[in-house]
Amino acid sequence: MIVLDRVTKTYSDKSIALKKVSLRIDPKEFVIIIGKSGAGKTTLLRLLTREERQTSGKIVVGGIDYDKLKDRNIPMLRRRIGVVFQDFKLLPNRTVYENVAFALEMVGKTNAQIKKTVPRVLSIVDLKGKEKSMPSQLSGGERQRVAIARAIARQPKILIADEPTGNLDPKNAWDIIKVLEKINKYGTTVVLTTHNQEIVNKIRRRVVTLKDGQIVGDHAKSEYKHT
């Protein structure tokens, strides 16, 4: 479960990114966070991955209270959350296989476990046969699928996807959304930010709307209708 209680984030230049945001996301939910650029979507996700620290308020993810989280335990937290970035953030000098394997190597999985897991997750994202390709040899959609494979390789309970379709054409964007839905079906909580209205309307999930750092709408999957 993800709980944000009156969370505020103010940057050093005094700009306010989030204002007393309260949000609760249950396990296995698929939540879409929408809002214009600068609404606070990315800041919210960066707080969840502890790339930033909230100025005030309380964040609890999977029972971990971020106020009590020490720096040395941040890697442990991040290993429990899968993250997909708009700019993919693949390791450029590693093959597709090695990029996915990295997520498992760093937690000390054995070579046998890695050899079993990597092909399985690559088949989930439909990238079988691309194991030896370098990221530079892949299309944008394929790179994003590698990033998703890497994020789910450790079977995290939560998957955070920050504008994963932002750099993709409509067909690839829709493929990525389908992969995320598949992962959600397996029981992973998915938190997705997007400003792609078509996607929001099509997949009909819970939609949280952010505006100027505040939640201005929180609709269950059947309720949301953009006009």
């Binding site: 050093s12 790339e51 941040i74 890697p75 993250v83 970035f85 000098n93 760093m106």
Partner: protein
């Protein structure tokens, strides 16, 4: 987590990083090899300079001329007092007869002097004590002792360290001391500069890959799992650079040592430098390879640190 698995992966990733970033590696190794060669040549030059200075210093001594009237006991006491001084490196006693023999040897071709000593019928050359100081700059302290009234009473004439000779020796002493200090200071300056150049080169190579480091951090990799391969990669840089540096100096000595001798204007003995390099090869190998590894690993350790920091400010 199995530490052996992690360690093995750090080594493997370090080696892969090295092989897959070969352009950066070549640039970094070139800079490291040049700077390590500079340090190596500086060490050898300094040793050679110290050898030359040592040879000059060994030739500087004081001769004390004793009165004919002093007793063997007084001579022994004086010799003991001199040997006990920490400024004195060695003391050599030359009796009257030995002194005369030496004098005759030195003037074997001069018939006038020979006939003059024969005509005198007595030995006019006093017994002499030759004192070699630890360093020429300590001659004045020895001279101070020789000027004490009790010691002056034993001397037939002023010691050799007086007058114009004293001025000349003092100048040589000052020059050799300055040369020694210059050698030491240049090692410090060039050594520090070299370390900074290597550090900056490695910092630039790591700066180029900062996104990679930050991505690994975001994915939850531990500090050493990220840092380790960069440290390993830079240790490889250090090892290769040190090998190039030692090989270059070895080739330099075997192929162009005659030209090198001419270029030093006789200030340095290249044959001694070559001897020093070959005789101390194992120590120099440890120093240069050690420096390469320590500077490489240390630089990578420091340079990666800034990209691994968490934003803990509220």
């Amino acid at each position: 987590m199995n530490l052996f698995i992690t360690f093995g992966r750090i080594l493997k990733n370090g080696l892969n990083n090295f092989l897959r970033n070969i352009t950066l590696a070549v640039a970094a190794i070139a800079v490291m090899a040049i700077t390590l060669t500079t340090i190596l040549i500086l060490i050898i030059t300094n040793a050679s300079l110290n050898n030359t200075i040592g040879q000059i210093n060994n030739k500087i001594d004081i001769s004390v001329y004793l009165k004919d009237s002093i007793t063997p006991a007084q001579t022994t006491t004086l010799l003991t007092q001199l040997r006990d001084m920490h400024e004195v490196k060695s003391v050599k006693y030359i009796s009257k007869n030995q002194a005369l023999a030496l004098y005759e040897d030195e003037n074997a071709g001069n018939k006038t002097i020979q006939s003059a000593t024969e005509a005198l019928g007595i030995n006019p050359i006093p017994a002499t004590i030759n004192i070699t100081p630890v360093t020429p700059s300590q001659l004045s302290q020895i001279k101070q002792f020789l000027n004490e009234p009790d010691t002056v009473a034993l001397q037939a004439a002023n010691s050799s360290y007086s007058g114009a000779l004293q001025t000349a020796i003092d100048k040589i002493a000052k020059t050799t001391r300055l040369l020694k200090e210059a050698g030491f200071i240049s090692i410090i300056i060039f050594g520090t500069t070299s370390v900074l150049i290597i550090f900056n080169t490695i910092r630039m190579t790591i700066f180029n890959r900062r996104d990679e480091i930050q991505t690994m951090r975001l994915l939850g990799a531990g500090t050493w799992f990220i840092k380790g391969p960069y440290v390993v990669e830079n240790i490889i840089y250090g090892l290769i650079s040190a090998t190039i540096s030692l090989t270059f100096v070895e080739i330099m000595f075997t192929t162009v040592s005659n030209n090198l001798q001419a270029s030093t204007f006789g200030l340095l003995s290249i044959s001694y430098s070559e001897y020093y390099f070959k005789h101390n090869f194992v120590s120099l190998l440890f120093i240069i390879v050690g420096l390469g590894i320590i500077i490489g690993a240390g630089s990578a350790f420091i340079a990666t640190r800034r990209y691994l920091k968490y934003k803990t400010r509220k």
